[in-house]
Amino acid sequence: MPLTALKLPELSLVLLIGTSGAGKSTFARRLFKATEIVSSDQCRALVADDENDQSATPEAFALLHYLIGLRLKRGLLTVVDATNVQAEARKTLVQLARDYHVLPTAIILDVPDRIAEDRNRARAERQHMGRHVVPQQRQQLRRSLKTLKQEGFRHIYHLHGPEEIDAVQAIVRDPLYSNRKQDTGPFDIIGDVHGCYHELVQLLTGLGYGIEEMPLQDARDLGVRVTAPAGRRALFLGDLVDRGPASPQVLRLVMHMVQSGLALCVPGNHDIKLLRYLNGKNVNEQHGFAETVAQLATESDTFKSQVRQFLDGLVSHYVLDGGKLVVAHAGMREEMQGRGSGAVRAFALFGETTGEIDEFGLPVRYNWASEYRGRAMVVYGHTPVPNAEWLNNTIDIDTGCVFGGQLTALRYPERELVAVPAAQVYCEPVRPLDYLRRASEVNSQQAEATQLSAQQQHDDLLDIRDVTGKQIIKTRLLPSVTIREENATAALEVMSRFALNPKWLLYLPPTMSPSETSALPDLLEHPAEAFDYFRRQGQERVVCEEKHMGSRVVVVLAKDEDAARRRFGVVGEGPGKCYTRTGRNFFTDTGLEAAFLARLQDALTTAGFWEKFQTDWLCLDAELLPWSAKAQELIKNQYAAVAAAATAALPEAAAVLTQAATRGLDGIEALLARTTARQTAAQHYAEAYRRYCWPVESLADLRLAPFHLLATEGRTYFDKDHAWHMETLRAICLADESLLRATPYRVVHLQDVADVEAATQWWTDLTAAGGEGMVVKPYDFIPGGRQNLVQPALKCRGREYLRIIYGPDYLLPGNLERLRERNVKSKRNLALREFALGVEGVERFVAGTPLREVHQCVFGVLALESEAIDPRL
């Protein structure tokens, strides 16, 4: 009976093997997607304009291999339509499959020479083909048949003649064993047990499993009964056996749980060694294997054969929960996840070594996790460590139970660690568990560095590849934010020259758009347009906050230096930082900085903040006053200078014009009037900037006005409305009113005419008194139920204030009209992208992701800020 369906692994490199004219292309087209087929003839045509130009063969195959490499890298099944009758040609392809950890498959289309030659003759472009070609290929094919298995092909289909070839109606794609993406857990992932039955039972019991040892009912029964907590399953990371006191019992328990669907298990190197032993292979008795052999001596043959079957069926690693979780005994690099090859299996069992041998005579482990960039969480064991620590979204939970450490479980998706201590040291480790740490102590810059977590030490140095070039950042609020390469270039310079240690930078504030331009006389901005915008966006309420004119700052502050070290991984830089929109330290005077932070800490303590929010750090978005504190030089060199130039030059001009006017020249009067108007404008302009300046000699001259509480330990506050933020921060401000300023605000119901009028009047009064204006925010921090993201805030600036933005003469006839042509659209677009990145950065930080992922967002905001957008908006 000819086969009607061929089974292949879903990710496979399929070689069609057959002479010219065997029908390979037809076969491929009939059974595979057109895009899955890579053909040597087609490649030849692409590089030579002629698919039979043999002189182009080297280039054609270079292209063929390149295409195959790209497809395999991206995890796509690929069919190679070439004769593939020569072993050398196949060797390159098998190597490609290996490089990308993909299984090679051979499908031989074996047709008699006569049929092949007839077909070739029927094709015009093959007329010139020599008579010797097909017989020669056929000879090569025949030789190949014997060696294919050796060459590394796992699946080989030999189809004899057109009948068998035509009989194939379907290709069945088998999922790889490692693919369990549909399996979402939850799981209790358990590290290396090594025969520690007692601790395993204790751990499982603690996790809510019920374990009952039952007398054996028959030879196949394993003698245990297990119940699991609702919906949960255990997931064993291998190395069930060796070294410890009760390997058979551990096997019995795990096998029972796997068979009854209460557990999954991946193999460890020790388990595979046991399998080899049970298969009758010669096995080295070192590393605790002798104990296992002794313990198994009293077990029945039936049990041993069950163990053999169980171990034989284990799959090297699993990809679970939609690809979000990967488990393997010794870890798994990103490019190997969900792939199948000898190298993948070896990596899963042994991990990676540097090739060196350490002072204990053991191979030096290569820390693949330090380079890991994958999205999937990788949970593994194999290398005993003193504590299970996260590094780049991977975690080694082998805490060396058998060596007297602990048996650790990771609850997934909770990311919660549960451990039980070893009852005793069952085996002395050849090298101490903390040898890595000891080694790093020798190299560490400061002894304190050892107090940092593995991730924090790793994060001491970011990688330039994570920020430069075009970056696409996925955020919760916007599916993707693109950072153009040239913007990243600008940000790299600012970040490198001016920014603080990136460990402090969890957030940079987004830019803020003004309201649309007002049509009212003498005004560019007015609250009406801001209210209209939010009404159009379906908002019922907004919060209007007084806009302070100072410097925007972000305050990151821990309760003490110890908390700063623990949470930010920063040593010797104080308990916190107050930094500007570009990540630069606000303070240049370290004494003033320390005093400022201490006062703020005191205020938080007085306000009971730490207890109330159960945290030892916080992140605030705020304005620091006065403007002149940071901008003194700018004010002197730019603002005051402009006023000085104007007040020195304009009176001279007015005097000369007055003199000319007495001569009765035409047109002088108008020119004089205009010059006088400019003189008055310059005066108003000087008054405008002076309002925001006062001398800063000490801390007593500074004021901090916080307006967002962004984050504390374990949580963010983007789910709280702005009235909550205002009230929460007011409570802190009350604790030290001479340093902290609560921001006046009002909640406005947009449909309530009186409410809107009152708010407008409030703005009018504020700005008439010289205030900068107000910020209008939707009531909720991130308004829900909308398809599009709503502007997080709009600013509405007063007429007087805008003089320092648009220049002294902006209200003069002819100027305001032209300035009204401004367009807020790209500014708004930018504000949304920066807002999404800002929120994402804080959320990532709070979730404890590696620093580079937080830094990408922060860097992204800075990069977007270099977009060419009218800075007056």
Partner: protein, 482 residues
């Protein structure tokens, strides 16, 4: 911005013929960024004054502005002194309004252009680094110079004087065209404004031609021409050649435009008012000395693959390219603008292919791990570390000494002990406004020793530059070897 020209020549109204502008009318011309009004506040036979009033349109001034985000002042093009001060706009208005006079032609009174007249010119207002600067520019040309200073902000007397002066020039006997060409050339020299408002190449060259008659004799000719070079860079690199100025004498590697005062201080001559020019010779020699010393060390070591970390405009690269055994140079700078300058200065685009292959010029940061930096024999880090915040040196150390690990690392930095020799530096002040720290010899040596110990390098620290008693040399070099 106002310019008046007064004469008491008899009859004074000849001024009208000379300027080719009728004293009885207000005339208005359109100029690049607004309007120029010409009128006569007085026109009697005894005394005649012509006024040129510029009305710069601030809204029209605005052009698309592109540049890195950061601590820069993005609003500079909107809030600025352009409408009020004498700038290159005045020069272009002069040439447009008084072209005939500047060329020395006068149809009606052909003898007038060559007549020496008593003339008086008032500029309101003129930006300048100080009264003395104005005097040094105009006194040699025979003017009597009087100035009126203006407070930066009368409500903040502690802020002192602004940089604006009402300038009055008097000359007993001068040709009008000479007065005009003096103003035409010297006004842009004094103006601090930069490329945003600059003009095209043709105009820049025209400006220089106006000065050719008198500039070669002017004692400040070097300063004057150098001030033009800052425009030339954006306009036409060949102007350098045109001016026959030694290319090496242009400026320091680290963004001198932003920090001219410090570059001057480093040469210890900033007391001189035209300090930047006067200082150049001496300053360059120190910077050149540093670069020569580092290049020599690389030559001595026979390094084949060399890193230039913080390459600036490529002065060290130029030296390295001259060392035959240097096979490849990776020159890195964090500033895109500096790299563009280096591209131009080194003529990278025109390099023959073999030379071209020896050099990679690219953006990079010394605070991020960068795998491109691995496998080099030597790295030069010349006057770079002091531009990093001290707290960021740990990251720099990781990048260079722990990860890149070149065979040798050459680090230079100023010697703070030497600063007392600079009269212009007050105690605790740095040589450069972007310096985050300046180390004494002990501090630098201690840092170098601890870095070397942590990363298995041997190190020696040596003075760089002429040594003085007690305080040592102005600069210092640490040579780390693996």
């Amino acid at each position: 911005m106002l310019l008046t020209i007064t004469t008491t020549h008899q009859p004074a109204t000849d001024l009208g013929y000379l300027l080719h502008k009728n004293p009885a009318r207000l005339q208005t011309l359109e100029i690049t960024a607004g309007q120029a009004h010409i009128f006569y506040p007085e026109a009697t036979p005894e005394r005649c004054t012509a006024a040129l009033l510029l009305d710069i349109d601030p809204v029209a001034l605005v052009r698309s502005h592109r540049g890195p985000a950061g601590e820069g002042f993005a609003l500079e093009q909107y809030v600025n002194d352009r409408p009020y001060v004498a700038s290159s706009f005045l020069s272009s208005a002069l040439s447009k309004a008084f072209n005939t006079a500047m060329n020395g032609t006068c149809k009606d009174r052909p003898e007038l252009p060559d007549t020496l007249l008593p003339l008086e010119a008032t500029v309101a207002v003129m930006p300048a680094a100080g009264v003395e600067q104005l005097q040094r520019l105009f006194l040699p040309l025979g003017y009597e110079v009087s100035t009126e200073a203006h407070l930066l902000d009368p409500t903040r007397p502690e802020w002192g004087d602004s940089r604006y002066y009402t300038l009055q020039l008097r000359h007993p006997a001068i040709r009008l065209r000479d007065l005009l060409s003096h103003l035409y050339v010297l006004i842009p020299v004094l103006d601090r404004g930069d490329k945003h408002y600059w003009i095209n190449q043709e105009e820049a060259e025209k400006l220089l031609r106006r000065g050719m008659d008198w500039l070669p004799q002017h004692p400040e000719r070097e300063f004057i021409t150098r001030r033009y070079l800052r425009f030339a860079e954006f306009v036409n690199p060949t102007l350098e050649w045109l001016l026959e100025v030694d290319e090496n004498a242009t400026d320091d590697g680290f963004g001198k435009e932003a920090y001219p005062e410090a570059a001057a201080a480093e040469a210890g001559t900033a007391t001189e008012l035209l300090g930047q020019a006067g200082a150049v010779g001496e300053k360059q020699s120190l910077h050149d000395l540093r670069l020569d010393r580092v290049a020599e060390e690389i030559r001595r070591r026979g390094a084949k693959r060399v890193l230039d970390l913080g390459c600036g405009e490529g002065k060290l690269v130029r030296r390295l390219l001259n060392i035959p055994h240097v096979e490849h140079i990776l020159a890195l700078d964090v500033s895109w603008r500096e790299l563009e300058r280096a591209q131009q200065r080194l003529h990278v685009a025109e390099m023959p292919p073999r030379q071209r292959e020896r050099l990679t010029l690219t953006q990079g940061s010394l605070l991020y791990h960068d795998p491109r930096l691995a496998d080099y024999d030597a790295a030069a880090v010349v006057e770079v570390i002091e531009h990093l915040d001290e707290s960021r040196l740990a990251a720099f150390e990781q990048v260079v000494f722990a990860r890149a690990r070149p065979g040798a690392v050459l680090v230079t930095t100023p010697n703070a002990d030497y600063n007392q020799r600079y009269e212009t530096l007050s105690a605790g002040e740095f040589r450069h406004s972007d310096h985050r720290f300046e180390w004494t010899r002990d501090q630098f040596t201690a840092w170098a020793a601890s870095v070397a110990a942590r990363h298995d390098y041997a190190v020696r620290v040596e003075p760089l530059g002429p040594e003085a008693a007690e305080v040592g040399a102005p600069s210092q070099l640490a040579v780390f070897e693996r």
